[in-house]
């Protein structure tokens, strides 16, 4: 069964060739572009590259963990591998993934604008990202860094013999890329909405990116300064983080996690935004509780700033602070749960099509829920004492970041691919990839919950023999997951060149981005749009009546 009705497929000869992709074919026209759509594609290429570099590190990690003995790499190299994996995946893939690609491409379209508020700043963001990336690649070439992506002091400042400064500079630089992206989105959403596009007519994708942008601008600068202090400490040994000189390592941890916990919401909120676009479309039903969904997004963003101490329960933090952070961490689950319930309610009695984007998003909802629930285990201080720094934590965050964000990212990429490139991807291959990824993902990461509960520590290149079976299952699952990721890498570019042409609205979706041709012209819309319909104006009753007529 085709997700796209035949009436929506446009014959080649009918189409005009004046989209944003045709405004100049030189390298210069791409590298000096001010078009948010082209900048989105520049980011897409960069982050895909980093995804596979980070994935290569993960491959070596899982290879090492196939056997209990540390026989593939030595301990220090293994430390460098998980550090590279973490630094690259967090800062160079997950944080920019949805906002810098889908967000950049879609936000002006969704609000009926021609451009973002500051187009040149947008291009500068990508160049800054690239500069940060160069530092990180240089770090890898120079031999890597072994501190973990968390750069804990005093190891990073006093004892590590690896390229800490080089790595930290890379992260510092890329932070400014995300700050500027967030700034641009905030001003764009405030100032460039087309007439009639009031706040409560905005797609939830836009709400999600607005809240994400608030986190980006408020939290990232704190990381930048904290990392600067690490560099100064490493170069001068003044002692602000060194207990022997009267400093406090927990000062670093408070500052680091003040950013890094909200950072995980930077990673998940855009994914929730994607889910809120795809589910109504493929259930042919309005989002249940639109306003609550918007408020929940803000609830997550704000409360998410108040929970960072749950990363520090065993660090020597005061018991009373831990109690406060534990309570707040339980509270932050509430708005997330509201969103999951509302997605479920949207699906209920909807007319569901299991297209590839829908498969990815259903996977997202389920896996995010499991990951979120295990977060509650970790929020309970008494349990966290046993589970922290074990594979339970590793499984928890991978369920959310990979089972959650990456699946939503892929779902969104598929959903909007026809809009971005003007051609349809092959639906059967896409469904195969989605299912392969889902199976591979669960095989890889579910055993890790069990390993963690049984006591296997994280960041160790060797382990006691009784953990081997589950590790073998996990590593085998990783092979399947890797194959699943390679499939879209092959057929999405293929679709860009050889896919069937798409009409403006192949899915019959609501939203202003579907009211302009696929791919859009450079100026996005031929005329200024006036918005009168409510968001997600799907009518399952009338649609099913029409399809039966």
């Amino acid at each position: 069964m085709n997700a796209v009705p035949d009436s929506e497929i446009v014959p080649e000869r009918v189409l005009h060739e004046s989209s944003y992709l045709h405004e100049g074919f030189t390298l210069r026209s791409w590298l000096l572009t001010r078009d948010h759509k082209r900048i989105a594609l520049l980011y897409l290429i960069s982050i895909t590259g980093f995804f596979f570099i980070g994935g290569a590190a993960a491959t070596l990690i899982r290879l090492e963990l196939m056997t209990p003995a540390g026989d593939v790499v030595d301990a220090e190299t293994y430390n460098k591998l998980f550090t590279a994996h973490g630094v690259i995946m967090v800062w160079f893939f997950l944080i920019p993934s949805i906002p810098a690609t889908l967000g950049n491409f879609l936000i002006p379209l969704m609000i009926g604008a021609r451009e973002v508020a500051f187009p040149r700043l947008n291009l500068a963001s990508w160049y800054i990202y690239t500069l940060g990336g160069i530092f990180v690649v240089a770090t890898l070439i120079a031999g890597g860094v072994d501190t973990g992506w968390t750069f804990y002091t005093p190891f990073s400042t006093l004892f590590s013999n690896t390229n800490v400064v080089l790595a930290v500079i890379g992260v510092f630089v890329v932070g400014f890329s995300s700050i500027l992206t967030g700034l641009n989105f905030i001003v764009t959403v405030h100032r460039l909405r087309t007439p009639g596009m009031t706040w409560f007519k905005l797609p939830l994708f836009v709400w999600a990116h607005y809240a994400t942008s608030l986190i980006l601008v408020l939290a990232t600068p704190v990381l930048a300064m904290t990392l600067s202090l690490v560099v100064f400490e490493r170069l001068t040994h003044i002692g602000i983080f060194d207990p022997a000189l009267g400093g406090d390592p927990l000062l670093f941890q408070h500052l680091f996690w003040f950013y890094s916990h909200p950072a995980v919401y930077i990673m998940v909120l855009p994914a929730m935004g994607v889910a809120s676009e795809i589910i109504p479309c493929f259930a042919r039903k309005r989002v249940f509780g639109y306003r609550m969904m918007a408020y929940a997004i803000f609830g997550i963003a704000i409360i998410g700033f108040l929970v960072w101490g749950h990363h520090m329960f065993v660090s020597g933090q005061s018991l009373y602070a831990s109690i406060a952070f534990s309570l707040l961490s339980f509270l932050v689950a509430i708005p997330s749960a509201i969103k999951v319930f509302n997605w479920t309610a949207t699906l209920y009695k909807g007319s569901i099509t299991l297209s590839a984007p829908m498969l990815y998003i259903l996977g997202f909802v389920g896996l995010f829920t499991i990951g979120g629930l295990t977060g509650l285990f970790l929020a309970a201080t008494a349990l966290d004492v046993h589970l922290t720094d074990t594979y339970f934590v590793v499984a928890h965050f991978h369920y959310i970041m990979v089972g959650g964000t990456v699946m939503a990212y892929l779902g969104g990429l598929h959903f909007w691919w026809p809009k971005i490139v003007g051609r349809l991807y092959p639906e059967t291959w896409a469904r195969i990839a989605a299912v392969t990824i889902f199976i591979g993902f669960n095989l890889t990461f579910f055993p890790q919950y069990l390993l963690g509960a049984q006591g296997m520590p994280r960041r160790y290149h060797e382990y006691p023999a009784r953990f081997q079976l589950l590790n073998e299952v996990s590593s085998s699952g990783a092979v399947i997951l890797g194959i699943g990721y390679l499939l879209p890498l092959a057929y999405l570019p293929w679709a860009m060149l050889r896919g069937r042409r798409s009409s403006a609205n192949p899915w019959g979706a609501t939203g202003l981005e579907w009211q302009t041709p696929s791919p859009p012209p450079q100026e996005n819309f031929a005329t200024t749009l006036q918005v009168i319909r409510i968001p997600y104006d799907y009518h399952p009753a009338t649609e099913s009546a029409e399809s039966q007529a």
Binding site: V116, P119, I186, V187, P221, M225
Partner: protein, 210 residues
Amino acid sequence: MSVPAEHFATAEDQRQAAELGMWVFLTTELMFFAPLFLGYAYNRWAYASAFAEASRHTDVVIGTVNTAILLTSSLFMALAVRATQLGHRRPTQVFLLVTATLGAIFLGLKGLEYAHEWDEHLVPWLDFRFAPGNAHGAALFYYLYFGMTGLHATHLTIGIAMACVFAFRLRTQPAQHLRNQIETGALYWHFVDAIWVFLYPILYLVNRHG
């Protein structure tokens, strides 16, 4: 700008976007300074007497004069904005150059201060000497002192450069064309001044009566 960029409907839209953009940027700048303020607050609490002793070694005369200079520079920047809004090109240029000059005098005096502190062995990591017992805390104080005032001075330098560039551009353009830029540049300048308003008492006035 009399003609807005093509993605803005009106010039007023563009002006409001520029204003909001600068305020959001200033928010990020405040959060950028935040860890230094937290580090200061924590270490002052942990090393109260060392911080008090170290603060008494700062040059309160230069510090106070510099604060007055920076506050005055804000006055002139506000006057420059007013003149731009009224379309008075020459007064705007003069006010901008006075602002920049006052900023430069601040930097000059700061440089003098740094030179004295170097002579008195108060620069951590570079032959730092302090009465034993308070040495660790004093080193942390001066680390934060140089860090915060250095970061502030960097921002001030950028502000001075901006003011000079605007004054230079006004030679060939009417004030209205640069209105958005000067207004947003002024916001930046006032922010840099506001940061100093907090730095002054926490660095220069701790336990002065002791």
